[in-house]
């Protein structure tokens, strides 16, 4: 049994090639998009990709937190996979921090209108919101949020690795459950107060600073959460295909598939709830968000978003057999990840650079982030044993039956 993951040279090369594409796109974008309006697309592309991939990797930590608090045992056999994915949060968090602070402090007013003090003064709505929406609050929220996330993912990871060295007795078993529950509880509270509410407001919703939606944070959260599950599935199947994780079988895959299925529907529920209330009330200051998306240039993307993130998983994952098949799960996971990347694209694009463009720049940056995630996660997977052998629920996970 292969206990520890050894990073294959091919995977390393792939990650470097993808990161190279990302850096190259960044450089081309930097020189291609300049001037007052040109640089808007440069920053919008960076904001879209960094927030998407940061939230997707953070969803892995949420997976650990939620399953631990629910006293779930089934995920223990592959718990090291979401753990390793969540370890991409520090690097991606620092990248995002740099990007948003540069946007705010170099005064990119086509991304965030509210950074222009003169503009805010003459704008009734923005001046009313300025107690919350100002540079100081933005920086403080972002720094505290990312700092707390980094602290918690490191803490959860370090605790798990530390437990490998303990002797397995009833007392240590209880201690493992207790301290994991406590720390996961703390993390869930932080996660709920950040991803569940404030973070999407300040990073993404403040692009359309005049507009607001109470659904927005949940919508962003579930978009990242369902993509996070897709990412876990991809790494899981990759390890399985390479002969690792012998205790993980289609039963575990089936449950992950149910998550992907259920939360795709939940995403649609929020997508629709946000849309319908605004459509029904038909108030000008509210429909301003949907105007370019539903009746403007972005119309095909808006409906493609629904097709790829709702209809595709709904019909594809409905059958039991597709949820238990490794190849079909890889296919639908890629579809879900691409779909929610498009979702983030249509959340950022219409409010910043307005016109629908072929997203070569955004996709190139996305490839760079994918390469970075592969690089970090594969490195983290090789650092510790793939199975947390002392976890008391390990047996429950091995004999798991859906």
């Amino acid at each position: 049994m292969k206990d520890k993951f050894v990073v294959p040279a091919r995977l390393k090369t792939t990650s470097f090639v993808l990161m190279g594409i990302g850096v190259l796109t960044l450089l081309i974008g930097f020189f291609a998009f300049h001037g007052e309006h040109g640089s808007t697309r440069f920053w919008a592309g960076l904001l879209q990709n960094s927030s998407f991939f940061l939230l997707v990797t953070l969803a892995s930590a949420f997976f650990i937190g939620a399953t631990t608090l629910a006293h779930g045992g089934w995920q223990i056999a592959f718990r090291r996979v979401p753990e390793a994915i969540s370890m991409a949060v520090p690097a991606l968090g620092v990248i995002l921090l740099a990007i948003v602070l540069l946007i705010v402090f170099t005064g990119q007013e086509h991304i965030y209108h509210w950074v222009n003090a003169e503009h805010v003064e003459h704008d009734h709505i923005l001046s009313w919101k300025s107690a919350f929406l100002n540079k100081g609050m933005f920086t403080a929220f972002t720094v505290i949020t990312i700092g707390a996330w980094i602290f918690f993912v490191m803490k959860l990871r370090n605790m798990s690795i530390e437990e490998d060295g303990w002797d397995l007795t009833a007392a240590t078993g209880r201690r493992i459950i207790w301290r994991n529950t406590v720390w996961c509880g703390g993390f869930i509270v932080v996660y709920a107060l950040t991803v569940g509410s404030t973070t999407p407001w300040i990073w993404l919703m403040s692009i359309d600073a005049h507009w607001y939606s109470t659904m927005y944070s949940w919508y962003t959260f579930v978009s990242s959460w369902v993509s996070g599950i897709a990412l876990i599935i991809l790494f899981l199947v990759y390890l399985k295909r390479n002969g690792y994780l012998p205790m993980v079988n289609e039963e575990h895959l089936h449950d992950l598939g149910k998550f992907a299925f259920g939360f795709s529907i939940f995403w649609t529920y929020l997508w629709f709830s946000q849309y319908m209330l605004i459509w029904y009330a038909n108030i000008p200051e509210e429909i301003v968000y949907f105007k370019p998306r539903v009746w403007g240039e972005w119309r095909p993307i808006f409906f493609l978003n629904l097709l790829i993130n709702f209809i595709a998983p709904l019909l594809y994952l409905m059958k039991r057999d597709t949820k238990r098949n490794y190849s079909s799960m890889v296919f639908i996971s890629v579809v879900i990840l691409v779909g929610h990347w498009i979702d983030f694209w249509q959340m950022v694009g219409p409010g910043t650079y307005k016109h629908l463009v072929f997203p070569w720049f955004e996709a190139g940056l996305g490839a760079g982030f994918v390469g970075l995630i592969i690089f970090i996660v594969s490195g983290q997977l090789s650092k510790a044993a793939l199975v947390p052998k002392n976890h008391p629920y390990l047996k429950e996970s091995i004999i798991h039956h859906t």
Partner: protein, 198 residues
Amino acid sequence: MAVKNFVVASFSDEAVLFPAVKKVRTAGYKIHDVYTPFPVHGLDHAMGLRETSLHTAGFIYGITGTTTALSCMSWIFNSDWPMNIGGKPHFPLPAFIPITFELTVLFSAVGMVLTFCYLCQLAPFVKKHIFNPRQTDDLFVMAIEVTAKTNAEELKTFLASIGGQQINEQRVEAGWWFGRFDREDRLFENKGVEAVNA
């Protein structure tokens, strides 16, 4: 419905039940059913039951609900009684979605419950024979049908050898019947409960 002969054995533990089910099937006996105090994971596979078609039925009921809701509402608001509500079009799809969703759920839920009752032959006031009163309490009870080819005595010895307890033979109604358990003596008709292995 038919009155049939059954050899009934009780098992005290899941760990005894699973190998016993496997051995009984390998020996070629026909398991009528296994009654357990709680849902046992994997028992359906061990018994060789086919996948249930309940979910397919649920999908069909759901689709029926969707079409019913959409066609009914669009008929009402387009041809039967067109109304102008808040200047919305006569086919306001977003406004139809919640009702469509609810009818889909309602049709599939009610339909699946009824289908489930039909498949399990359950209905109000309908009774089925209880092979052992403790089958809903703490015992795993296996009923094996005695066919023309079965040697009941041989089967009893065989069940005792694989961990069966309270082995007895019962001649009972295999399907459902109307009545009350306390007024019918069917339940304890063959009261010769001999604890072979006790």
